[in-house]
Protein backbone atom coordinates (compact mmCIF):
# COMPACT_ATOMS: atom_id res chain seq x y z
CA UNK A 1 0.00 0.00 0.00
CA UNK A 2 1.32 3.40 -0.80
CA UNK A 3 1.29 6.38 1.47
CA UNK A 4 -1.46 8.92 1.80
CA UNK A 5 -4.16 6.68 0.46
CA UNK A 6 -6.69 7.82 3.03
CA UNK A 7 -7.40 10.82 0.87
CA UNK A 8 -8.16 8.47 -1.98
CA UNK A 9 -11.03 7.05 0.05
CA UNK A 10 -12.89 10.34 0.09
CA UNK A 11 -14.69 11.27 -3.11
CA UNK A 12 -15.35 15.01 -3.06
CA UNK A 13 -18.82 16.00 -4.09
CA UNK A 14 -21.72 18.25 -3.31
CA UNK A 15 -24.69 15.95 -3.01
CA UNK A 16 -27.32 15.73 -0.24
CA UNK A 17 -25.36 12.80 1.26
CA UNK A 18 -22.09 14.77 1.27
CA UNK A 19 -23.80 17.76 2.87
CA UNK A 20 -25.30 15.84 5.81
CA UNK A 21 -23.52 16.56 9.11
CA UNK A 22 -20.97 13.80 9.84
CA UNK A 23 -22.50 12.81 13.18
CA UNK A 24 -25.79 11.96 11.46
CA UNK A 25 -24.00 9.81 8.87
CA UNK A 26 -21.96 7.99 11.54
CA UNK A 27 -25.07 7.06 13.50
CA UNK A 28 -26.88 6.10 10.29
CA UNK A 29 -24.06 3.77 9.17
CA UNK A 30 -23.78 2.06 12.57
CA UNK A 31 -27.57 1.76 12.83
CA UNK A 32 -27.74 0.22 9.38
CA UNK A 33 -25.04 -2.33 10.28
CA UNK A 34 -26.89 -3.28 13.49
CA UNK A 35 -30.17 -3.70 11.58
CA UNK A 36 -28.45 -5.90 8.99
CA UNK A 37 -26.85 -8.10 11.66
CA UNK A 38 -30.23 -8.48 13.38
CA UNK A 39 -31.93 -9.65 10.17
CA UNK A 40 -32.64 -13.41 10.17
CA UNK A 41 -30.47 -15.15 7.59
CA UNK A 42 -33.38 -17.08 6.04
CA UNK A 43 -34.92 -13.82 4.78
CA UNK A 44 -33.43 -13.61 1.29
CA UNK A 45 -35.74 -10.78 0.32
CA UNK A 46 -34.70 -8.60 3.27
CA UNK A 47 -31.07 -8.61 2.12
CA UNK A 48 -32.25 -7.70 -1.37
CA UNK A 49 -34.07 -4.69 0.11
CA UNK A 50 -30.88 -3.71 2.00
CA UNK A 51 -28.86 -3.88 -1.23
CA UNK A 52 -31.42 -1.64 -2.94
CA UNK A 53 -31.24 0.83 -0.02
CA UNK A 54 -27.44 1.06 -0.30
CA UNK A 55 -27.68 1.37 -4.08
CA UNK A 56 -30.11 4.26 -3.62
CA UNK A 57 -27.69 6.01 -1.23
CA UNK A 58 -24.82 5.49 -3.70
CA UNK A 59 -26.93 6.87 -6.53
CA UNK A 60 -27.90 9.98 -4.55
CA UNK A 61 -24.25 10.50 -3.53
CA UNK A 62 -23.12 9.89 -7.14
CA UNK A 63 -20.62 7.21 -6.11
CA UNK A 64 -19.79 5.06 -9.16
CA UNK A 65 -20.53 1.36 -8.51
CA UNK A 66 -17.14 0.37 -9.96
CA UNK A 67 -15.40 2.32 -7.18
CA UNK A 68 -17.41 0.55 -4.47
CA UNK A 69 -16.67 -2.84 -6.04
CA UNK A 70 -12.95 -2.07 -6.25
CA UNK A 71 -12.81 -1.11 -2.58
CA UNK A 72 -14.59 -4.27 -1.50
CA UNK A 73 -11.24 -6.07 -1.87
CA UNK A 74 -10.68 -5.68 1.91
CA UNK A 75 -13.30 -8.35 2.35
CA UNK A 76 -11.36 -11.07 0.50
CA UNK A 77 -9.78 -12.85 3.55
CA UNK A 78 -13.19 -13.38 5.09
CA UNK A 79 -14.73 -14.53 1.83
CA UNK A 80 -12.10 -17.26 1.83
CA UNK A 81 -13.01 -18.21 5.40
CA UNK A 82 -16.74 -18.22 4.61
CA UNK A 83 -16.16 -20.47 1.61
CA UNK A 84 -14.39 -22.97 3.86
CA UNK A 85 -17.25 -23.25 6.39
CA UNK A 86 -19.57 -25.54 4.36
CA UNK A 87 -16.73 -28.05 4.02
CA UNK A 88 -15.74 -28.17 7.69
CA UNK A 89 -19.14 -27.42 9.23
CA UNK A 90 -21.16 -29.94 11.21
CA UNK A 91 -24.68 -31.27 10.92
CA UNK A 92 -26.84 -32.49 8.08
CA UNK A 93 -24.94 -32.82 4.82
CA UNK A 94 -25.99 -32.43 1.25
CA UNK A 95 -24.46 -33.28 -2.11
CA UNK A 96 -23.66 -30.48 -4.51
CA UNK A 97 -21.90 -31.55 -7.70
CA UNK A 98 -20.65 -34.63 -5.92
CA UNK A 99 -19.13 -32.68 -3.00
CA UNK A 100 -20.51 -33.26 0.46
CA UNK A 101 -21.39 -29.95 2.14
CA UNK A 102 -22.84 -29.17 5.54
CA UNK A 103 -26.28 -27.56 5.38
CA UNK A 104 -25.91 -25.39 8.52
CA UNK A 105 -22.43 -24.54 7.23
CA UNK A 106 -23.90 -23.28 3.96
CA UNK A 107 -26.35 -21.14 5.91
CA UNK A 108 -23.54 -19.76 8.08
CA UNK A 109 -21.38 -18.98 5.04
CA UNK A 110 -24.29 -17.17 3.38
CA UNK A 111 -24.99 -15.32 6.64
CA UNK A 112 -21.41 -14.07 7.00
CA UNK A 113 -21.01 -13.22 3.31
CA UNK A 114 -24.26 -11.29 3.06
CA UNK A 115 -23.95 -9.35 6.31
CA UNK A 116 -20.24 -8.62 5.99
CA UNK A 117 -20.68 -7.41 2.41
CA UNK A 118 -23.53 -5.08 3.35
CA UNK A 119 -21.51 -3.74 6.31
CA UNK A 120 -18.43 -3.17 4.16
CA UNK A 121 -20.43 -1.33 1.49
CA UNK A 122 -22.05 0.87 4.14
CA UNK A 123 -18.60 1.79 5.54
CA UNK A 124 -17.26 2.45 2.03
CA UNK A 125 -20.15 4.82 1.32
CA UNK A 126 -19.60 6.56 4.65
CA UNK A 127 -15.87 7.03 4.00
CA UNK A 128 -16.45 8.11 0.40
CA UNK A 129 -18.92 10.87 1.32
CA UNK A 130 -17.30 12.18 4.52
CA UNK A 131 -13.98 13.95 4.82
CA UNK A 132 -11.84 12.15 7.44
CA UNK A 133 -11.40 15.32 9.48
CA UNK A 134 -15.14 15.99 9.48
CA UNK A 135 -15.81 12.41 10.56
CA UNK A 136 -13.73 13.01 13.70
CA UNK A 137 -15.46 16.32 14.43
CA UNK A 138 -18.73 14.42 14.15
CA UNK A 139 -17.44 11.78 16.55
CA UNK A 140 -16.59 14.56 19.00
CA UNK A 141 -20.12 15.93 18.66
CA UNK A 142 -21.38 12.45 19.55
CA UNK A 143 -19.59 12.81 22.91
CA UNK A 144 -16.87 10.30 22.17
CA UNK A 145 -14.10 10.91 24.75
CA UNK A 146 -12.22 14.01 23.59
CA UNK A 147 -8.84 12.40 24.24
CA UNK A 148 -9.69 9.45 21.99
CA UNK A 149 -10.83 11.79 19.21
CA UNK A 150 -7.63 13.82 19.57
CA UNK A 151 -5.48 10.70 19.33
CA UNK A 152 -7.36 9.70 16.19
CA UNK A 153 -6.89 13.22 14.77
CA UNK A 154 -3.14 13.10 15.30
CA UNK A 155 -3.01 9.63 13.87
CA UNK A 156 -4.88 10.66 10.72
CA UNK A 157 -2.82 13.83 10.38
CA UNK A 158 0.54 12.08 10.65
CA UNK A 159 -0.34 8.71 9.14
CA UNK A 160 0.74 9.71 5.67
CA UNK A 161 3.97 11.21 7.06
CA UNK A 162 4.87 8.02 8.91
CA UNK A 163 3.81 5.80 6.00
CA UNK A 164 5.97 7.93 3.69
CA UNK A 165 8.89 7.50 6.05
CA UNK A 166 8.31 3.74 6.10
CA UNK A 167 8.17 3.73 2.32
CA UNK A 168 11.42 5.66 2.01
CA UNK A 169 13.08 3.16 4.36
CA UNK A 170 11.74 0.30 2.23
CA UNK A 171 13.09 1.91 -0.94
CA UNK A 172 16.45 2.41 0.78
CA UNK A 173 16.51 -1.25 1.85
CA UNK A 174 15.55 -2.55 -1.55
CA UNK A 175 17.93 -0.33 -3.44
CA UNK A 176 20.69 -1.98 -1.42
CA UNK A 177 19.58 -5.39 -2.62
CA UNK A 178 17.37 -6.42 0.32
CA UNK A 179 14.73 -9.07 -0.33
CA UNK A 180 12.73 -10.53 2.57
CA UNK A 181 13.11 -14.17 1.61
CA UNK A 182 12.79 -16.00 4.91
CA UNK A 183 13.04 -15.60 8.64
CA UNK A 184 16.75 -14.78 8.50
CA UNK A 185 15.88 -11.37 7.13
CA UNK A 186 13.78 -10.55 10.22
CA UNK A 187 16.54 -8.60 12.02
CA UNK A 188 16.70 -6.08 9.18
CA UNK A 189 12.94 -5.54 9.26
CA UNK A 190 12.98 -5.28 13.04
CA UNK A 191 15.72 -2.67 12.93
CA UNK A 192 13.64 -0.69 10.44
CA UNK A 193 10.65 -0.94 12.77
CA UNK A 194 12.79 0.22 15.70
CA UNK A 195 14.11 3.17 13.73
CA UNK A 196 10.59 4.02 12.61
CA UNK A 197 9.40 3.94 16.23
CA UNK A 198 12.16 6.30 17.35
CA UNK A 199 11.41 8.67 14.47
CA UNK A 200 7.66 8.60 15.22
CA UNK A 201 8.19 9.15 18.94
CA UNK A 202 10.64 12.00 18.40
CA UNK A 203 8.30 13.57 15.87
CA UNK A 204 5.57 13.31 18.50
CA UNK A 205 7.78 15.17 20.97
CA UNK A 206 8.50 17.91 18.43
CA UNK A 207 4.81 18.22 17.55
CA UNK A 208 3.93 18.46 21.22
CA UNK A 209 6.52 21.17 21.86
CA UNK A 210 5.36 23.12 18.82
CA UNK A 211 1.80 22.90 20.07
CA UNK A 212 2.76 23.97 23.58
CA UNK A 213 4.46 27.04 22.15
CA UNK A 214 1.19 27.87 20.41
CA UNK A 215 -0.80 27.65 23.64
CA UNK A 216 -1.96 24.02 23.68
CA UNK A 217 -3.52 23.17 27.04
CA UNK A 218 -4.60 19.62 26.38
CA UNK A 219 -7.77 20.60 24.60
CA UNK A 220 -8.33 21.38 20.97
CA UNK A 221 -10.05 24.69 20.33
CA UNK A 222 -13.39 24.35 18.60
CA UNK A 223 -13.09 26.48 15.48
CA UNK A 224 -16.35 25.64 13.84
CA UNK A 225 -19.24 23.92 15.43
CA UNK A 226 -21.19 21.38 13.45
CA UNK A 227 -24.84 21.80 14.29
CA UNK A 228 -27.30 19.27 12.92
CA UNK A 229 -30.88 20.30 12.43
CA UNK A 230 -33.85 18.12 13.20
CA UNK A 231 -34.50 17.85 9.46
CA UNK A 232 -30.95 16.58 8.80
CA UNK A 233 -31.24 14.01 11.56
CA UNK A 234 -34.49 12.69 10.13
CA UNK A 235 -33.01 12.60 6.61
CA UNK A 236 -30.10 10.53 7.90
CA UNK A 237 -32.46 8.29 9.87
CA UNK A 238 -34.24 7.13 6.70
CA UNK A 239 -31.62 4.48 5.84
CA UNK A 240 -31.37 2.73 9.24
CA UNK A 241 -35.13 3.07 9.80
CA UNK A 242 -35.93 1.33 6.52
CA UNK A 243 -33.32 -1.37 7.22
CA UNK A 244 -34.73 -1.88 10.70
CA UNK A 245 -38.28 -2.12 9.36
CA UNK A 246 -37.09 -4.71 6.85
CA UNK A 247 -35.44 -6.69 9.65
CA UNK A 248 -38.56 -6.53 11.85
CA UNK A 249 -40.86 -7.55 9.00
CA UNK A 250 -38.53 -10.40 8.04
CA UNK A 251 -38.44 -11.56 11.66
CA UNK A 252 -42.23 -11.52 12.05
CA UNK A 253 -42.69 -13.40 8.76
CA UNK A 254 -40.09 -16.01 9.66
Amino acid sequence: MSAGHHHALYLPGDTPVHRLPPQCKLIAAVGFAVAVVATPREAWGAFGVDVLLLAAVAAVARIPPALVLRRMVVEVPFVLFAVAIPFIGLGERTEVLGVSLSLPGLWAAWNILAKATLGVVASILLAATTEPRMMLLGAERLRLPALLVQIAMFMLRYMSVILDQARRMRIARESRGFVARDIRQAPVLARSAGALFIRSYERGERVHLAMLSRGYTGQMPVIHDLPASWRQWSAAAVLPALALTTAVVARSLA
Binding site: H6, L9, L26, A29, V30, A33, V34, V36, V37, R41, R71, V74, I85, I88, L90, G91, P104, A108, I112, L113, A114, K115, A116, L118, G119, A122, S123, I124, A127, M135, L147, L148, Q150, I151, A152, F154, M155, L156, R157, Y158, M159, I162, A166, A180, R181, I183, A186, P187, L189, A190, A193, G194, A195, F197, I198, S200, Y201, G204, E205, H208
Partner: protein, 342 residues
Protein backbone atom coordinates in the same frame (compact mmCIF):
# COMPACT_ATOMS: atom_id res chain seq x y z
CA UNK B 1 -7.76 -10.98 11.65
CA UNK B 2 -10.32 -8.19 11.50
CA UNK B 3 -13.75 -9.66 12.25
CA UNK B 4 -16.48 -8.51 9.82
CA UNK B 5 -20.19 -7.93 10.40
CA UNK B 6 -22.36 -11.03 10.69
CA UNK B 7 -19.68 -13.16 12.28
CA UNK B 8 -21.01 -12.96 15.81
CA UNK B 9 -24.62 -12.70 16.95
CA UNK B 10 -26.03 -9.53 18.48
CA UNK B 11 -25.60 -10.38 22.23
CA UNK B 12 -21.90 -11.27 21.88
CA UNK B 13 -21.20 -8.21 19.70
CA UNK B 14 -22.94 -5.96 22.23
CA UNK B 15 -21.21 -7.64 25.20
CA UNK B 16 -17.80 -7.27 23.59
CA UNK B 17 -18.69 -3.66 22.85
CA UNK B 18 -19.33 -3.03 26.54
CA UNK B 19 -16.04 -4.72 27.49
CA UNK B 20 -14.16 -2.67 24.88
CA UNK B 21 -15.74 0.61 26.00
CA UNK B 22 -14.95 -0.11 29.65
CA UNK B 23 -11.37 -1.11 28.81
CA UNK B 24 -10.79 2.00 26.72
CA UNK B 25 -12.30 4.19 29.46
CA UNK B 26 -9.92 2.72 32.07
CA UNK B 27 -6.97 3.16 29.71
CA UNK B 28 -7.90 6.78 28.98
CA UNK B 29 -7.41 7.55 32.68
CA UNK B 30 -4.27 5.46 33.06
CA UNK B 31 -2.62 6.75 29.88
CA UNK B 32 -2.39 10.21 31.42
CA UNK B 33 -0.10 8.67 34.02
CA UNK B 34 2.11 7.12 31.39
CA UNK B 35 2.45 10.17 29.16
CA UNK B 36 0.87 13.03 31.19
CA UNK B 37 -0.23 15.95 29.02
CA UNK B 38 1.65 14.63 26.02
CA UNK B 39 -0.91 11.84 25.67
CA UNK B 40 -2.76 13.00 22.58
CA UNK B 41 0.12 13.86 20.23
CA UNK B 42 2.38 11.02 21.39
CA UNK B 43 -0.34 8.37 21.29
CA UNK B 44 -1.47 9.64 17.90
CA UNK B 45 2.02 9.30 16.48
CA UNK B 46 2.47 5.87 18.05
CA UNK B 47 -0.86 4.81 16.55
CA UNK B 48 0.36 5.94 13.14
CA UNK B 49 3.56 3.93 13.79
CA UNK B 50 1.54 0.81 14.59
CA UNK B 51 -0.51 1.34 11.44
CA UNK B 52 2.72 1.52 9.43
CA UNK B 53 4.25 -1.49 11.18
CA UNK B 54 1.15 -3.59 10.47
CA UNK B 55 1.97 -3.15 6.79
CA UNK B 56 5.47 -4.55 7.32
CA UNK B 57 5.05 -8.09 6.06
CA UNK B 58 7.54 -10.63 7.24
CA UNK B 59 7.97 -14.09 5.76
CA UNK B 60 6.81 -16.85 8.12
CA UNK B 61 7.32 -20.13 6.34
CA UNK B 62 6.83 -21.73 2.94
CA UNK B 63 5.90 -18.59 1.08
CA UNK B 64 3.29 -17.32 3.53
CA UNK B 65 3.85 -14.06 5.30
CA UNK B 66 2.36 -12.50 8.37
CA UNK B 67 2.19 -9.01 9.72
CA UNK B 68 2.62 -7.67 13.21
CA UNK B 69 -0.42 -7.25 15.46
CA UNK B 70 1.71 -4.89 17.49
CA UNK B 71 -0.21 -5.01 20.78
CA UNK B 72 2.61 -6.48 22.84
CA UNK B 73 5.23 -4.33 21.08
CA UNK B 74 3.29 -1.16 21.81
CA UNK B 75 2.71 -2.18 25.44
CA UNK B 76 6.44 -2.62 26.03
CA UNK B 77 7.45 0.53 24.15
CA UNK B 78 4.87 3.01 25.49
CA UNK B 79 3.09 1.26 28.38
CA UNK B 80 -0.02 -0.93 28.44
CA UNK B 81 -2.72 1.74 28.75
CA UNK B 82 -1.34 3.88 25.93
CA UNK B 83 -0.90 0.74 23.85
CA UNK B 84 -4.56 -0.20 24.24
CA UNK B 85 -5.57 3.32 23.19
CA UNK B 86 -3.24 3.34 20.18
CA UNK B 87 -4.36 -0.04 18.85
CA UNK B 88 -8.01 0.82 19.55
CA UNK B 89 -7.66 4.03 17.54
CA UNK B 90 -5.98 2.11 14.72
CA UNK B 91 -8.93 -0.29 14.68
CA UNK B 92 -11.49 2.53 14.78
CA UNK B 93 -9.80 4.27 11.87
CA UNK B 94 -9.58 1.00 9.93
CA UNK B 95 -13.26 0.29 10.57
CA UNK B 96 -14.64 3.71 9.67
CA UNK B 97 -12.20 4.85 7.00
CA UNK B 98 -11.03 1.65 5.32
CA UNK B 99 -14.08 -0.59 5.84
CA UNK B 100 -11.65 -3.10 7.38
CA UNK B 101 -13.51 -4.89 10.17
CA UNK B 102 -17.27 -4.60 10.65
CA UNK B 103 -18.87 -1.65 12.44
CA UNK B 104 -20.92 -3.95 14.69
CA UNK B 105 -17.80 -6.07 15.31
CA UNK B 106 -15.72 -3.09 16.51
CA UNK B 107 -16.19 -4.17 20.13
CA UNK B 108 -14.99 -7.69 19.35
CA UNK B 109 -12.03 -6.37 17.36
CA UNK B 110 -10.95 -3.89 20.04
CA UNK B 111 -11.31 -6.52 22.77
CA UNK B 112 -9.31 -9.12 20.85
CA UNK B 113 -6.60 -7.07 19.22
CA UNK B 114 -6.16 -4.08 21.51
CA UNK B 115 -7.08 -5.17 25.03
CA UNK B 116 -6.18 -8.87 25.06
CA UNK B 117 -2.86 -8.55 23.22
CA UNK B 118 -1.66 -5.50 25.15
CA UNK B 119 -2.78 -6.62 28.61
CA UNK B 120 -1.63 -10.23 28.23
CA UNK B 121 1.61 -9.09 26.61
CA UNK B 122 2.31 -6.62 29.41
CA UNK B 123 1.43 -9.15 32.14
CA UNK B 124 3.81 -11.75 30.68
CA UNK B 125 6.49 -9.11 30.20
CA UNK B 126 6.21 -8.01 33.85
CA UNK B 127 6.26 -11.59 35.10
CA UNK B 128 9.48 -12.32 33.18
CA UNK B 129 11.26 -9.06 33.84
CA UNK B 130 10.39 -9.16 37.54
CA UNK B 131 11.55 -12.70 38.11
CA UNK B 132 14.91 -11.98 36.47
CA UNK B 133 17.48 -9.42 37.55
CA UNK B 134 17.11 -6.07 35.82
CA UNK B 135 19.06 -6.21 32.61
CA UNK B 136 18.69 -5.65 28.90
CA UNK B 137 18.60 -9.40 28.34
CA UNK B 138 15.64 -9.74 30.69
CA UNK B 139 13.77 -7.00 28.82
CA UNK B 140 14.44 -8.60 25.44
CA UNK B 141 13.56 -12.13 26.61
CA UNK B 142 10.45 -10.68 28.28
CA UNK B 143 9.32 -8.99 25.10
CA UNK B 144 9.89 -12.20 23.11
CA UNK B 145 7.74 -14.23 25.49
CA UNK B 146 5.13 -11.46 25.79
CA UNK B 147 4.55 -11.35 22.04
CA UNK B 148 4.71 -15.13 21.79
CA UNK B 149 1.95 -15.60 24.38
CA UNK B 150 -0.23 -12.65 23.37
CA UNK B 151 -1.01 -13.80 19.83
CA UNK B 152 -2.31 -17.35 20.54
CA UNK B 153 -4.17 -16.02 23.60
CA UNK B 154 -6.00 -13.56 21.40
CA UNK B 155 -6.82 -16.40 18.97
CA UNK B 156 -8.14 -18.55 21.81
CA UNK B 157 -10.32 -15.71 23.13
CA UNK B 158 -11.67 -15.40 19.59
CA UNK B 159 -12.49 -19.11 19.66
CA UNK B 160 -14.22 -18.75 23.02
CA UNK B 161 -16.33 -15.85 21.73
CA UNK B 162 -17.12 -17.87 18.63
CA UNK B 163 -18.32 -20.71 20.82
CA UNK B 164 -20.51 -18.27 22.80
CA UNK B 165 -22.07 -16.52 19.87
CA UNK B 166 -20.57 -17.48 16.54
CA UNK B 167 -22.93 -17.87 13.62
CA UNK B 168 -21.29 -20.96 12.09
CA UNK B 169 -21.66 -24.57 13.27
CA UNK B 170 -18.05 -25.63 13.63
CA UNK B 171 -16.64 -28.11 16.07
CA UNK B 172 -15.13 -26.05 18.88
CA UNK B 173 -12.13 -28.27 19.43
CA UNK B 174 -11.13 -28.23 15.76
CA UNK B 175 -11.47 -24.44 15.61
CA UNK B 176 -9.42 -24.07 18.79
CA UNK B 177 -6.75 -26.42 17.47
CA UNK B 178 -6.58 -24.74 14.08
CA UNK B 179 -6.62 -21.18 15.44
CA UNK B 180 -4.18 -22.03 18.22
CA UNK B 181 -1.80 -23.90 15.91
CA UNK B 182 -1.68 -21.24 13.23
CA UNK B 183 -1.34 -18.47 15.76
CA UNK B 184 1.50 -20.13 17.62
CA UNK B 185 3.41 -19.91 14.33
CA UNK B 186 2.34 -16.29 13.78
CA UNK B 187 3.19 -15.62 17.43
CA UNK B 188 6.73 -16.93 16.88
CA UNK B 189 7.21 -14.47 14.02
CA UNK B 190 5.66 -11.68 16.05
CA UNK B 191 7.86 -12.57 19.04
CA UNK B 192 11.04 -12.52 16.96
CA UNK B 193 10.27 -9.15 15.37
CA UNK B 194 9.06 -7.66 18.68
CA UNK B 195 12.18 -8.73 20.58
CA UNK B 196 14.51 -7.50 17.83
CA UNK B 197 12.64 -4.20 17.54
CA UNK B 198 12.74 -3.63 21.30
CA UNK B 199 16.44 -4.47 21.38
CA UNK B 200 17.20 -2.09 18.51
CA UNK B 201 15.32 0.74 20.25
CA UNK B 202 17.09 -0.14 23.51
CA UNK B 203 20.45 0.18 21.76
CA UNK B 204 19.75 3.73 20.56
CA UNK B 205 17.23 5.34 22.91
CA UNK B 206 16.80 3.16 26.01
CA UNK B 207 14.93 6.02 27.67
CA UNK B 208 12.06 5.61 25.21
CA UNK B 209 11.28 2.02 26.18
CA UNK B 210 8.57 2.10 28.85
CA UNK B 211 9.27 -1.49 29.87
CA UNK B 212 12.93 -0.69 30.55
CA UNK B 213 12.49 2.23 32.92
CA UNK B 214 15.09 2.12 35.65
CA UNK B 215 17.56 0.30 33.43
CA UNK B 216 19.54 3.43 32.65
CA UNK B 217 22.85 3.66 34.49
CA UNK B 218 23.26 6.67 36.77
CA UNK B 219 24.86 9.67 35.15
CA UNK B 220 28.58 9.91 35.93
CA UNK B 221 30.37 13.22 35.61
CA UNK B 222 34.05 12.86 34.82
CA UNK B 223 35.85 15.98 36.00
CA UNK B 224 39.46 16.74 36.80
CA UNK B 225 38.79 15.71 40.39
CA UNK B 226 37.62 12.26 39.38
CA UNK B 227 34.23 10.72 38.77
CA UNK B 228 31.11 11.93 40.52
CA UNK B 229 27.87 9.98 40.26
CA UNK B 230 24.94 12.32 39.87
CA UNK B 231 21.86 11.26 41.75
CA UNK B 232 19.09 10.82 39.25
CA UNK B 233 16.04 12.80 40.30
CA UNK B 234 13.28 10.23 40.47
CA UNK B 235 11.77 11.01 37.08
CA UNK B 236 9.49 8.09 36.48
CA UNK B 237 8.59 6.39 39.73
CA UNK B 238 7.44 2.95 38.66
CA UNK B 239 4.10 2.25 40.30
CA UNK B 240 4.82 -0.30 43.02
CA UNK B 241 1.70 -2.35 42.83
CA UNK B 242 3.22 -5.66 41.97
CA UNK B 243 1.27 -8.55 40.65
CA UNK B 244 -1.79 -8.04 42.79
CA UNK B 245 -3.87 -6.10 40.21
CA UNK B 246 -3.02 -8.66 37.52
CA UNK B 247 -4.00 -11.57 39.75
CA UNK B 248 -7.14 -9.87 41.05
CA UNK B 249 -8.20 -8.80 37.56
CA UNK B 250 -7.59 -12.24 36.13
CA UNK B 251 -9.52 -13.87 38.95
CA UNK B 252 -12.42 -11.47 38.50
CA UNK B 253 -12.58 -12.15 34.76
CA UNK B 254 -12.49 -15.91 35.38
CA UNK B 255 -15.29 -15.65 37.93
CA UNK B 256 -17.34 -13.46 35.61
CA UNK B 257 -16.89 -15.84 32.70
CA UNK B 258 -17.69 -18.91 34.75
CA UNK B 259 -20.49 -17.43 36.76
CA UNK B 260 -22.31 -15.07 34.43
CA UNK B 261 -21.35 -15.68 30.84
CA UNK B 262 -21.94 -19.40 31.16
CA UNK B 263 -25.68 -18.61 31.43
CA UNK B 264 -25.63 -17.61 27.84
CA UNK B 265 -23.42 -20.35 26.57
CA UNK B 266 -25.17 -22.49 24.02
CA UNK B 267 -26.99 -25.35 25.68
CA UNK B 268 -26.79 -27.37 22.47
CA UNK B 269 -24.54 -30.42 22.71
CA UNK B 270 -20.96 -29.49 21.94
CA UNK B 271 -19.14 -30.74 18.87
CA UNK B 272 -17.96 -34.03 20.27
CA UNK B 273 -21.31 -34.91 21.83
CA UNK B 274 -23.04 -33.96 18.61
CA UNK B 275 -20.78 -36.12 16.47
CA UNK B 276 -21.21 -38.91 18.95
CA UNK B 277 -25.00 -38.68 18.74
CA UNK B 278 -24.92 -38.52 14.93
CA UNK B 279 -22.69 -41.52 14.55
CA UNK B 280 -24.60 -43.48 17.14
CA UNK B 281 -21.67 -44.42 19.28
CA UNK B 282 -23.05 -42.72 22.35
CA UNK B 283 -24.67 -46.04 23.18
CA UNK B 284 -21.25 -46.99 24.48
CA UNK B 285 -21.14 -43.99 26.72
CA UNK B 286 -20.69 -45.03 30.30
CA UNK B 287 -22.07 -42.95 33.14
CA UNK B 288 -19.29 -41.01 34.77
CA UNK B 289 -18.17 -42.34 38.11
CA UNK B 290 -18.85 -38.99 39.74
CA UNK B 291 -22.23 -38.56 38.08
CA UNK B 292 -23.89 -37.96 41.40
CA UNK B 293 -21.19 -35.64 42.69
CA UNK B 294 -22.20 -32.22 43.98
CA UNK B 295 -21.09 -30.41 40.84
CA UNK B 296 -21.89 -33.02 38.19
CA UNK B 297 -23.16 -31.77 34.85
CA UNK B 298 -22.02 -28.22 35.62
CA UNK B 299 -24.86 -27.65 38.03
CA UNK B 300 -25.10 -27.48 41.81
CA UNK B 301 -27.42 -30.24 43.01
CA UNK B 302 -30.20 -28.93 45.17
CA UNK B 303 -30.37 -25.55 43.40
CA UNK B 304 -33.52 -25.42 41.27
CA UNK B 305 -32.94 -22.41 39.04
CA UNK B 306 -30.93 -23.70 36.10
CA UNK B 307 -29.00 -20.48 35.46
CA UNK B 308 -28.19 -19.87 39.10
CA UNK B 309 -27.12 -23.46 39.46
CA UNK B 310 -24.85 -23.33 36.40
CA UNK B 311 -23.34 -20.06 37.54
CA UNK B 312 -22.70 -21.33 41.06
CA UNK B 313 -21.03 -24.44 39.65
CA UNK B 314 -18.86 -22.26 37.45
CA UNK B 315 -17.79 -20.05 40.35
CA UNK B 316 -17.10 -23.09 42.51
CA UNK B 317 -15.05 -24.56 39.66
CA UNK B 318 -12.93 -21.44 39.43
CA UNK B 319 -12.50 -21.44 43.20
CA UNK B 320 -11.37 -25.07 43.25
CA UNK B 321 -8.97 -24.43 40.36
CA UNK B 322 -7.48 -21.44 42.15
CA UNK B 323 -7.11 -23.42 45.41
CA UNK B 324 -5.48 -26.42 43.71
CA UNK B 325 -3.27 -24.20 41.56
CA UNK B 326 -2.30 -22.10 44.57
CA UNK B 327 -1.46 -25.19 46.61
CA UNK B 328 0.80 -26.52 43.85
CA UNK B 329 2.41 -23.12 43.42
CA UNK B 330 3.11 -22.77 47.14
CA UNK B 331 4.56 -26.28 47.51
CA UNK B 332 6.84 -25.69 44.56
CA UNK B 333 7.96 -22.38 46.00
CA UNK B 334 8.48 -23.90 49.43
CA UNK B 335 10.67 -26.58 47.97
CA UNK B 336 12.71 -24.05 46.09
CA UNK B 337 13.19 -21.93 49.21
CA UNK B 338 14.17 -25.04 51.20
CA UNK B 339 16.75 -25.83 48.57
CA UNK B 340 18.07 -22.30 48.72
CA UNK B 341 18.46 -22.59 52.47
CA UNK B 342 20.04 -26.02 52.38
Amino acid sequence: MHVPDGFFDVPVSAGAGVVAAAGVAVCLRRARRELDDRTAPMAGLVAAFIFAVQMLNFPVAAGTSGHLLGGALAAILVGPATAVLCVAVVLLVQGFFFADGGLTALGVNITLMAIVTSVVGWAVFRLVSRSAPRSRTAVIVGSFLAALVSVPTSALVFTALFWLGGTAPIELSSVAAAMGGVHVLIGLGEALITALTVSSVLAVRPDLVYGARGLAAPLVLRTADGEVAVEEPATLPAPKRGLRPVLLGGGLVALLLAGVVSFYASSAPDGLNKVAADKGFNAYERPHDLENGPLAGYGVSGVEDERLSGGLAGIAGVGITVLVGGAIFFTVRRRRQDKAVA
